[in-house]
Structures are given as structure tokens and as C-alpha cells.
Amino acid sequence: MSINVFEKRAFLVAVASVAVSLALIAYATWGMGINVPTCIPLGSKPFEQASVTKHEGKNYEVHYVARMWAFEPSVLRVPTGSTLDMYAVTKDVTHGFLIAGTNVNLMLVPGAVANSRVHFDKPGIYTIVCHEYCGRNHQNMNARIEVSDQIADYSVEGLPADEGMKLLDAKGCLACHSVDGSVGVGPTFKGAWGAPVTLADGSTRTLDAALFLQKVRHPDTIAVQGYPPVMPDLPLTDDEISQIEAYLEGLQK
């Protein structure tokens, strides 16, 4: 017995509807440029610090760091019409990264960098929701992006670097070291991180975490050429030092 004619037609309808669906998906992907996240080659390790970098116009590059149970930065304010290139990593377990009301929807998997781009043409408050179960306080894990007509440039809260600036102020560092390039008792921090520095003994070193730590922990063992060796001992914790480092790294850009 051969296959019933109506059944054959049903089969053709099924094949045709799959073909139509695939064509529409292809159009969405290439025609409208809506794609899913891809594989970012991991030549280097994922970044560890959250940051915001302004590019030309209203283009920003935002590096998000997720951890149990918060995102850094926790608040980002950008002008309406901004385009954001988002990169996000996790420091511990797998987290989710959904900007409600947009097409940004990423999984943050340990060891990998997730990436998406979003354009905001409507002002408003956009919630970033962690949508992957990440432990006891998963429901507390969110951040927000505030898009406004009233501002001309970005501002940010909850970056470890902000804490770094507060520490520089609170610990009295700014009395001698500027962050804007102006000359003080000690060398300026602006552009210093990662740059060569000539020491009093004539040798040249790069300002990195090791040199920075040595100078903070044992200030009398190193002096920078051209500056008096008057740096005091400062009771900074390891955490505070790394927050300051994060801030100084940001100052080179």
C-alpha cells in the first residue's frame, strides 16, 4: 500500500515550513545583523578588572566582571544614542548576563570572554539581570545601565578603580602624587603604570605590580631619580593595594 496523498501533502507542508523558517533565520542573521555570541580566541587570559573606555563619538567599550553575587560596574550612565561594546567575564561560577529590553543575552562561563554590542536610542533604566543560578544570593545579582538625554558623557559606579581613587585620597597619597600629570613632591600617577621609570641609582625599571608593592611596603629601598626620598610607610592591606593598582592601570589610557 502506498502512502496516502494527504499524508504526502502534510509531509511537503512540513518540509516547506522548515525551509521558510530557516530562510527567515538566515535573513535575521545576515540581513538584519542579529547574531548569537561567537568564540573569542583566547590568546591571552580573560581580563580581571572591570573598566569603561570611551572611543570616538558615543562609542564605549565596557568590561564587566561578574562574581558571586554582583556585577562590576554596578551602575553605568551613558548618553542616549550610545553604542556599547560589552565584554564580560566571571571570576567564580557561571553567571548570566541579560540586559532586559535588549537583545544582549550572554552566558559568562569561567575562563571565557563573552561579547555583545548594544545600541541605546531610548532613554531609560535598563536592568542587567544574572539569569543563571549562581548560588544562595542569585536573586540579588543585578546591575543597571542608565541611558539619559541629560548627560554628555559616561559616568560609572561600583568599579574597583573608584575605590582606588577614594583610597588615594583617604590615605593621603594625593598630597604628593597628582593624577592629572601636574608636578608635585612625588611623580604623577598619570600614565605611569606600565611605563619605564629611572631610579636614583640610574637603573631603569617598569612600574608594575612588583615594583609598586616594593615601594609601598618598603619605601626606603627605592627612590625615583629627581625626587626626594620622603615616601612614608603606609598601612595598606593587600586588597587596598590591588584596588589602587586597578585605578592606576586605568590612568594610563
Binding site: I3, F11, A14, V93, A114, G135
Partner: protein
């Protein structure tokens, strides 16, 4: 033919023990909807936290109940339709492994040592016994197929030229899919997770474990679905009073699902980093091909129902719909299958959204996802399990169903509940409401800075629907307990229990769908082709992380001592 006595006992245990566990699974389902609406604003109720309850709900309902039912139903179909003895030693071994594994995992969950959800994504780390339990359970579920294959081959030899009974084709397809799908997850559990949770290894490739999990995770849903498909193809037309419209459609669907169930797990990882868009795209296309057997099934079942309705005097283009046995207490099983089909219609349509590549960006991991799968696993599959269990339990124990009217009402109540529940969660998902989240504490709490008033209506619809679903489960257990307590049915004890079995209306002979081997070989090759590149990329990138994390602390677990 009457089933072997020992086999009857094993089947009853495989149906009743998971149903008893399901009481906890269902309770935690209802509770979640209440937590999520903010009516309960707490981390735990009665000593069990939201996330422990969520883990229990997923593991018990989606793994334990479904797998045990597939095994029990499989034994019933194979031994009845092949009229053969099956290995009791194999059935016992399978039962013991699966039961001990399920109990071990359940104890760890209720001790709060395994609040890692049923996907158990590392680097969240559970107690090693949770992983041991899962491994025992999986291995136990492999045994039946291995003991059925010789029985089936013997039957083929003794019945040359005859078609294998449709139910047997469906059950063998079910467990072939299961066998292919569970190998990667067994590798994940035994090679990656167990040694890591014991402190023998310190790093784990998280992307690899996610990929191995989803290699299993999507065929898992076809494994859930296939026993219900067996009921649709072999029982529904008979219950409706007619015949199966096309024998070919059933055989083709079972073979197509063997071919297409595995090489598409990446559509659960569209949002993952570390996998190229090409790999995702290829598996996205393979995902949509499943629409072909699905739509053919929809056509065949509708045509079978129409044939039955016309036999019963139905007339007109649409008028025949009124002639089906919707409310007949004697035929209480019909609405379980029929309501399941109606629900599945919406489950299938909404699934196209998640499966459609970039469209997944809108709904990935939002409340949309549980809304969708409560219309699939929570619809046809769950109703098939409830109806099938009641049929087989009462049939094997020679008990009457008390009462048929109440049994008949259950699927309708359930259907109303799931529609309300899912509508709410679909709406919430489109507004960014995350799944698997204790919303009441923050997003559904006006005192919290995270409060989202636009999720209020969706979350409350979820709760109303969830409570109605809970009511349906309560009604079902009243029927089940009353039936078990009833005196044996004198009339039924005369005749051996047999599953209702439909005759074909069009009995086509298409040799291509009568032999498993080419389909299984093609399936394995297709899996290898679809997974070679992503697995190679992930292995090469070596995405590893430090030791695991317990769900209650951001400090990494120190497993070195």
C-alpha cells in the same frame, strides 16, 4: 499474555516509588511559584530553601519520574507485544541501581548538600554522593535495552517478514536515543565531576562539561517524549474509537527521532562563549529539522481522531470534533492523551522561538524557557505518565479506577493550570524575568531597589496557574490512593491485563523505516560530524578554572585535604 509475576512487581515498584517521590517534586513546584510571586518572601520554608526545592523539583520530576516511567512502560510494552519472557535478573539489577542512585541523590538534595539544580553546572560543586547517585541511576537505566535487544532479535528471527509491533519500535527507539545521549553525561559525571568533587583533580574545563551536558540535555527531552509518542501512536486512536491513520508515519517518526535527537544540543548553548557561530548555526539547522516528524505526527494524529469521530457519526468540515469521547468516565484515559496533545501544540510552537538561533537572544534563560517546557514535559509527557501509570498500576493489580469521573477531570484541571502558568511566564520572560530565581526577595519586593513592578502580573499568573496544577496533582493522588485501596475488580481478574492497541488504517509497507541499523549508524555519524569541531575548539582552548564553589559562599572550595 500475563506478565511474569516478578516482572509485574518490578514494574509496580518502578511506577509507585517515583510517584511517591513526585509528591515532593510537585510540592516544590507549587512552592516556587509562590516564592516567585513574592507572596512568600523568604530564603526557605519548613527548613528547605528555595534552591534545594528547585533542585528537588527538577531532579525528581524531570529525571527520576520520567526515566522510571520509560523503563516500566518499556517492560510492559516489550513483554506484551513480543509475547516473550524478559530477563528478570536484568530488570532487578536495573531497578536496584536506579533506586539506590535516586535515593542517594535525593538524600543529598534534602540535606542541602547538592543545591546545584538538575543541570549541576560546575564550578558549583555538590557532595560527591550526589554525582555517584546520578551515575548509578544512569547506568541502571542502560540495562533494560541491553536485555531487550536479544529478545527482539529472537522475535525477528521467529517472525520473518512480519512488521515489528509499533509499540516495540517506539520503545526501542526511546532507549536507543537514551543510550546515545547518556554516554557523554556519564563521561562528564565520572571523568570530570566526581574526581573533582573528591579533590582528586583541581581544575575542570567548564565549557567542556556544559557541552557534554547539553549533548545529553536535549535528547533527554525526546527520551521523555517518546513513551508518550508510543501511547499516541498505539493507544490514542483505539481510545478515540478508530484506527491509526498511517502506520508509516509512526515508524518514520521513531526512526527520525533516533537520527535527529542528539546532534543539536548546542541550541541550548547559543548564548555561550567559546563556541563558534558556525558550529551553533549547523546545530540550529538540525534542530529545526525535528519539525518534520513533529508536523507529520500532528497530521497523523489529527487524521486518526477525525477517522474515529466520523466512525462515531461525526459530520462536516469541523463538526466531527464534537464527536470525540472527551467526557466519558469509562474512557478516562482519552483526555490524558488528548489534553496532552492540545498543550503540546503550544509547547511546539513556542519551542520554535528558543530554537531559532538569534531569536534565542530574546528569551534565553528567562522565564520563557520554563513556560515553554511546562507545555512539553509538563504537558503531553507528564499527562502521559500520570495516565499511563494509573492504567498500568490498576491493570496489573486488578484494581478498579476509583473514580473514573475524578480521573477524567485531572487532565482538564492540569491543562487550565499549565496554560495560565505558562502564559504568565511567557509574558515575564519577554520582559526579562529570569528563570530559576527566588524573585520574591528582590525583584518582586517593593522594598528592594531591584523591584520590577512590570513583572508583578506575570509572576502572579504563574502562581495562580501553579496552584491549579497543584490541585490537579492532589486530585490525581486521591484517585490513585482510592484505587489502590479498593478491592480487586472481579471482572478484570479473569482476563490478563493488556494495553489498548490500535489497528492501522493505512498500513503502508516502506522498507526504509523497518530496520534500525541504518538510522542508528547515520545518527552516530551525524553526531560525530556536528560535535567534532566544537569539542575540538573547547578542548584546544583549555578553558579551565580553579576548584569548585559551594552555592552558599563566594570562597572557592578547598578540596586539598
Amino acid at each position: 499474555m500475563e506478565l511474569q509475576t516478578n516482572l509485574r512487581r518490578i514494574i509496580l515498584a518502578e511506577l509507585l516509588v517515583p510517584l511517591a517521590l513526585f509528591i515532593f517534586g510537585a510540592y516544590h513546584g507549587v512552592m516556587q511559584t509562590i516564592y516567585m510571586s513574592g507572596v512568600i518572601r523568604a530564603t526557605s520554608v519548613a527548613g528547605i530553601s528555595y534552591y534545594e526545592g528547585l533542585t528537588a523539583h527538577g531532579v525528581i520530576n524531570a529525571i527520576v519520574l520520567t526515566t522510571f516511567f520509560a523503563v516500566a512502560f518499556g517492560y510492559t510494552v516489550i513483554s506484551q507485544q513480543l509475547k516473550s519472557q524478559v530477563s528478570i535478573a536484568g530488570a532487578t539489577l536495573s531497578l536496584v541501581l536506579m533506586l539506590s542512585g535516586a535515593v542517594m541523590a535525593a538524600v543529598m538534595i534534602f540535606l542541602g548538600k547538592a543545591s546545584v539544580l538538575y543541570t549541576f553546572y560546575p564550578p558549583l560543586m555538590a557532595h560527591p554522593l550526589f554525582y555517584v547517585g546520578l551515575a548509578l541511576f544512569i547506568v541502571g537505566s542502560w540495562v533494560p535495552l541491553w536485555t531487550w535487544i536479544p529478545v527482539y532479535l529472537r522475535w525477528r528471527k521467529e517472525n520473518r517478514g512480519r512488521k515489528t509491533p509499533m509499540g516495540v519500535v517506539g520503545i526501542l527507539a526511546t532507549f536507543t536515543v537514551w543510550q546515545m545521549a547518556t554516554v557523554p553525561v556519564a563521561v562528564e559525571v565520572l571523568v570530570q565531576l566526581l574526581p573533582w568533587s573528591l579533590g582528586w583533580t583541581h581544575g575542570i574545563n567548564v565549557m567542556m562539561s556544559r557541552t557534554l551536558f547539553w549533548f545529553f540535555g536535549h535528547p533527554l527531552v525526546y527520551f521523555w517524549l517518546l513513551p508518550t509518542y508510543v501511547m499516541y501512536y498505539t493507544m490514542l486512536p483505539k481510545l478515540a474509537g478508530g484506527k491509526l491513520f498511517s502506520d508509516f508515519a509512526g515508524r518514520f517518526t521513531f526512526m527520525a527521532l533516533i537520527l535527529l535527537s542528539c546532534p543539536l544540543g548546542l541550541h541550548h548553548q547559543f548564548a555561550d562563549p567559546g563556541i563558534s557561530t558556525t558550529s551553533k548555526g549547523i546545530q540550529g539547522v538540525l534542530t529545526l529539522l525535528v519539525a518534520i516528524p513533529s508536523l507529520l505526527t500532528a497530521f497523523t494524529l489529527a487524521a486518526s481522531l477525525e477517522y474515529a469521530a466520523r466512525q462515531r457519526g461525526g459530520k462536516g468540515l469541523f463538526g466531527w470534533w464534537s464527536k470525540l469521547p472527551y467526557f466519558n468516565p469509562e474512557n478516562w484515559l482519552f483526555p490524558y492523551l488528548f489534553c496532552g496533545l492540545l498543550i503540546f501544540l503550544f509547547g511546539g510552537i513556542t519551542g520554535i522561538v528558543n530554537a531559532s538561533y538569534s531569536m534565542n537572544n530574546v528569551v534565553h534563560n528567562t522565564a520563557w524557557i520554563p513556560a515553554h517546557f511546562h507545555l512539553t514535559v509538563g504537558g503531553p509527557i507528564f499527562l502521559g505518565i500520570l495516565g499511563g501509570s494509573l492504567l498500568i498500576v490498576t491493570g496489573l493489580m486488578k484494581k478498579p479506577v476509583v473514580s473514573g469521573t475524578m480521573a477524567m477531570i485531572v487532565p482538564y484541571v492540569w491543562m487550565v493550570g499549565t496554560f495560565i502558568f505558562s502564559y504568565g511566564l511567557f509574558m515575564g520572560g519577554l520582559r526579562g524575568e529570569p528563570r530559576r530565581t527566588n524573585l520574591g526577595l528582590t525583584y518582586m519586593n517593593p522594598a528592594s531597589p531591584s523591584y520590577r513592578p512590570d513583572w508583578w502580573v506575570p509572576a502572579h499568573m504563574g502562581m495562580v496557574g501553579g496552584c491549579i496544577m497543584g490541585l490537579a496533582v492532589l486530585l490525581y493522588f486521591i484517585v490513585l490512593i482510592r484505587s489502590l485501596a479498593a478491592a480487586p475488580d472481579a471482572a478484570a481478574s479473569q482476563a490478563p491485563f493488556a494495553l489498548p492497541t490500535s489497528e492501522p488504517y493505512h498500513d503502508e509497507d516502506v522498507p526504509a523505516v523497518r530496520n534500525f541499523t541504518p538510522w542508528v549508524v547515520a545518527a552516530v555519524l551525524l553526531c560525530a560530524a556536528a560535535y567534532y569541531v566544537p569539542i575540538r575548539d573547547i578542548a584546544k582552548n583549555g578553558i579551565t578554572t580553579a576548584p569548585g564553589f559551594r552555592p552558599d559562599s563566594p570562597a572557592a572550595v578547598d578540596t586539598t585535604h
